[in-house]
Amino acid sequence: MSAPFSWIRPEPWGIHVVPADAWIDPGRPVGRALVTHGHADHARGGHGETIATPETLAIMALRYRTGVEDENGELPTRATPVEYGETIRLPGGVDATYIPAGHVLGSAQILLEHAGERIVCTGDYKRRADPTCPPFEVTPCDVFITEATFGLPLFTHPPIEEEMGKLLGRLEAHPDSCVLVGAYALGKAQRVIAELRAAGHTQPIYLHGAMEKMCRLYEEHGVELGELRLVSDHAKDAMRGHVVVCPPGALNDRWSRRLPDPITAMASGWMRVRQRARQRNVELPLVISDHADWGELTRTIEEVDAQETWITHGREDALLRWCQLHQRRARALALVGYEDEDD
């Protein structure tokens, strides 16, 4: 009998599911990858087979041509879709079940079962309601592998209604300007748009060109975003009094010169810290995150109540400390390649 959980091994570039020779969110090309969601630090191109939800595979097809035929009609990479709640049997007797993580469209936790042991790898997740994806489901397990992006007690994401109120209030106070919102192109941007719609904002919303395809993909998957227009198709004056959404990198870029007196906003959990907002020259910080905040991380660890908690990336030191203080067995995994994305 081998040691508990020895069939799953954290390596610097991903989590190795040994009997299946599969990797969760590997940072380099592998034969078989189990991908939790489409963000670039989790999903990469070039794997022989990618097993993910149909939505994640659609995102990866768009970004990396995963599962798409090349010009010779060949299929260099295979895509195996697994619906939420569905279980797939992997080689070596490992069962993988994909469960909603509430992070972005298609995001999943992966439950792995082998030799009577259950391990859940969350990828990234949040516990707040999000009109663009189904909510996180608490799944009992023996080992809970959690992210810790906002794993410091100072991170408390305010209710999204408050942040929408700030955004719409600023827009109303400056009818001759536009509010330029920097938002991660996959997930955050669509959520901000959907939340604006939920808050009753029916005006057209202008997009940076780099966001168009992902917004269309969301719409194809049933997420309604209302009327979207491309900045490049419209005159400066048409955008006065409107919301413009762009990737964070474009906020201080020359691109924004074509906008009418933009007020620079950024939608990110990091905006909770003033100096972080100042570093990015943000005038209107919007604390909106697709990750669990400190309260949600610790509550989730308690609700899942696993024998062991493994912490992947982010502020792992503090979450590890919390686990110690609450007599929970925990360890930090030194994975590389996960970044403080602009979330």
């Binding site: 408390t156 909770r272 100096q275 570093q279 020259n281 400390r321």
Partner: protein, 539 residues
Amino acid sequence: MDEFAALIDALIYTRSRNEKLRLIAEYLRATPDPDRGWALASLTNELDFPAVKSSTIRNLLKERIDPVLWTLSRDFVGDTAETASLLWETGQVGAKTDVTTSLSLDEVVGRLSAMTRGTVATELPKLLDALDVNGRYALLKLATGGMRVGVSSRLAKTAFAQAFEVSIDDVEEYWHGLEPPFPELFAWAAEGEDPPDIENLPTFRPFMLAHPLEETEVSLKDYAAEWKWDGIRVQLVRAGHEGEEQTKLYSRSGDDISATFPELLDALPINAVLDGELLVRGATQGGEEGGAASFNALQQRLGRKTVSKKMLREAPAFVRLYDVLILEGEDLRELVWEKRRKRLEGLMSHLPDSHFDLSALVEARDFEHLTEIRERSRDDAIEGLMLKRRDAPYVAGRRTGLWYKWKRDPLLVDCVLMYAQRGSGRRSSFFSDYTFGCWDGDPDEGADLLPVGKAYSGFTDAELKKLDRHVRSNTINRFGPVRETDKSLVFEVAFDSVHESKRHKSGLAMRFPRIHRIRWDKPVHEADRIEALRALIRD
């Protein structure tokens, strides 16, 4: 307090100088006395609440949350006040007391002033409980000083001048004779009453400052040259009616340092405002003739609240005079430099040699000759030269083209990065403070590195990002907020001078060290040795 907190918040996120001016001016016009005076005092760093220290806040928080979690959070945010404002309510059930009426800034200042070391631990939490997260941030910044909202004292005064359409020069002139919350200043500017009477008070007058001379040549017909002595710039002021005269000594920032140099207070026999360099007697700068000890010798006397007789005997201070601003009630600042210089020279015979001398002019045939003279100044341990426009009046602040400082080229030494720490303010979360060392012997024979200095500047934002990445990926040890790196990177460090110091293990301390170049290419064993640095001492 809500309005003040909102102002602070708005200022933090505002980039444009004009918009900042507008926000402050609008606040000053809309807010009643004395709240607006306290706000102005806080923006100009004029408030001090001795009972409330960063350590007070730290200790309060460590009682509320786990100390390790506090330290990790503080380290991430890079600012104690902000971290505390964010964490105050964490894990506290029903912490918020019933607040029906908002506190006024005046009440907050009153309560902060009344706190003592004994009561602060019980009183400060009551204030924090009564405020929301923005209010707590403003309160803690107000209490500990240093608002870090991207507003200099000068900008705040400019906003005041704009708000009430008065001259900024007048504001500067009156400023130093007044105390927060500045009722006389508001009465004058906002209500049109008589200006504050400072003529018979020994108040600080704003200094005239110099720009660095960069790749410009000036004609010596237009400019006079003086040595740039390496002491501290001071203003000595005597004022008051006969028999009631008071004398004060001010530092460059306008701080009253009279108590630190009592020997100068009785030395001035007439009412005057004098501008000069404070030095200690010695023979380092400019040799015997120069008559001044190194900055290091002066440093032994700085920052002391009281001075021993021994100290007065061993390190006697004197003022080397540069300029005269006011003489026996006559304001000379409108006069051109040449005329003021004549008046200063005429004054010298009335001043005791023991405590005053005149900063000599440096005579040169032409600019080229002056350049040669400047290059020799290192041997004389002098910082460099000052160039002053002969036909310029004495104007407050830094005006283009009037005064230049022309420092000699810095010394350079190759050091190895040893430790890094996160910065604060705009650099919070970046590893931007670097400690570097030199080899204590031959590195190929196993010599160690010993720290020789610390620098925070001299690199671009792009270089900072790269350095931050270097530190993160080459950390070999963590000591609280300090990261020890793997000693793989060489900095070319520029500095003005180096001195003996007991404070450092290497026995050396650099003056004004900054990163001159990052030598990504240079192998660490080629960095300099301690002896090389020691050879540059000119004490």
